[in-house]
């Protein structure tokens, strides 16, 4: 499977995402924010970092980049899109996911390992996560407190769109296990159509035991399985745009 990992000025988890996908046996390449085509991507990862310096609001400027217009089209056609950390913020700003991420309730930047409970296996991002498995993955954010109005929250629950919640080591959704004050301990959600998801934790930083945990791989394995089902089944993967353009690689002028 071919993964395109977006690269904005000040993305800093782009290489980690590429590494994780390759480590798990699939293809990944970087796609610069000025590109307006996703080429032959089967799935897109919007990585973590501080796109455009987090100016105005996290993700507010990235949302208008040319590559994000291609991502919107790709998502509209059913393509799989995963936003991690800043990528999650970009997807909410772009309106591809409901709600918003605001400043952590204690105003601190949290860089630590947390535990995640998977709320449903029914999504391309969670289908391979073993039942009852509590994932241990790192977080690293200052603005990760998920917020949505009551109506949106009710819709998320009714539609089974909450995918991951912060919990303690035994899987209890407690307030102390909530690192940022997110409503309902929400760490990650998907859209109504279930092809776009975002989460604040970093599964790409937890795909090999040398890094302390390989629990993050289950999220990627879920994506691979979902993509394989698609290509094996109903008429292959849909692409956002028919014209395939060669994309530049490793051309980011900025790195944090």
């Amino acid at each position: 499977m071919n993964f395109s990992v977006l690269q904005f000025p000040a993305s800093n988890c782009d290489q980690d995402a590429v590494h994780a996908v390759r480590l798990l046996g699939h293809n990944a390449r970087l796609l610069w924010h000025k590109e307006n085509s996703l080429g032959d991507a089967d799935a897109v990862i919007v990585p973590g970092g501080f796109s455009y310096g987090d100016y105005l609001r996290c993700g507010a400027i990235a949302r208008f980049s040319p590559v994000m217009q291609a991502v919107k089209q790709f998502a509209d056609h059913g393509g799989l899109v995963l936003g991690i950390c800043n990528g999650f913020q970009v997807l909410t700003e772009a309106g591809l996911l409901p709600g918003a991420l605001i400043r952590n309730r204690d105003l601190q930047f949290h860089c630590e390992n947390i535990f995640l409970k998977t709320a449903t296996p029914d999504s391309p991002f969670t289908n391979k996560i073993p039942a009852g498995k509590i994932l241990r993955v790192p977080i690293a954010h200052g603005e990760g407190c998920y917020f949505a109005d009551e109506e949106t929250l009710a819709k998320l629950k009714a539609g089974n769109q909450i995918l991951w919640q912060y919990c303690d080591a035994s899987g209890n959704l407690t307030d102390t296990a909530n690192p940022n004050g997110a409503l309902q301990n929400i760490a990650g959600i998907c859209n109504e159509r279930r092809n776009v998801a975002g989460l604040m934790p970093h599964p790409e930083r937890a795909c090999e035991l040398a890094l302390g945990s390989d629990d993050g791989k289950w999220i990627f394995e879920s994506l691979f399985a979902a993509l394989e089902n698609r290509t094996g089944g109903a008429g292959g993967v849909v692409h956002g745009e028919p014209d395939v353009k060669v994309s530049r690689r490793n051309t980011s002028p900025l790195r944090m």
Binding site: E93, A100, I102, F147, D149, G181
Partner: protein, 93 residues
């Protein structure tokens, strides 16, 4: 220097946009500033809300009504996030 005055200065139009967190949204910055004010002895403070202030310079002669419409659009779509923020737009000259 006073001698440099060369007749009428062009009217300087400005748009001022004040963005504040919505009431229903957690505002830890506001809370922290409020606590700090209390610690410093400033009494009678019942609430603090920390937001943003954006000042936009407009070309002289800009049509006020058109600017109002355009900037409302920009404030709604880009400068603020309506899910978590309210804004107030003011055009001055």
């Amino acid at each position: 220097m006073p001698g440099n005055f060369r007749g009428q200065t062009p009217v300087r139009m400005k748009a001022k946009i004040i963005i504040t967190p919505k009431k229903a949204v957690l505002d830890p910055q506001g809370k922290t500033v409020q606590t700090a004010l209390e610690h410093l002895g400033y009494t009678g403070v019942t609430g603090v809300h920390v937001g943003k202030y954006i000042e936009i310079d407009l070309a002289p002669g800009t049509d006020r009504a058109a600017a109002q419409t355009a900037l409302n659009d920009a404030a709604h779509k880009f400068l603020s996030n309506p899910i978590i923020e309210d804004y107030r737009l003011e055009i001055t000259d």
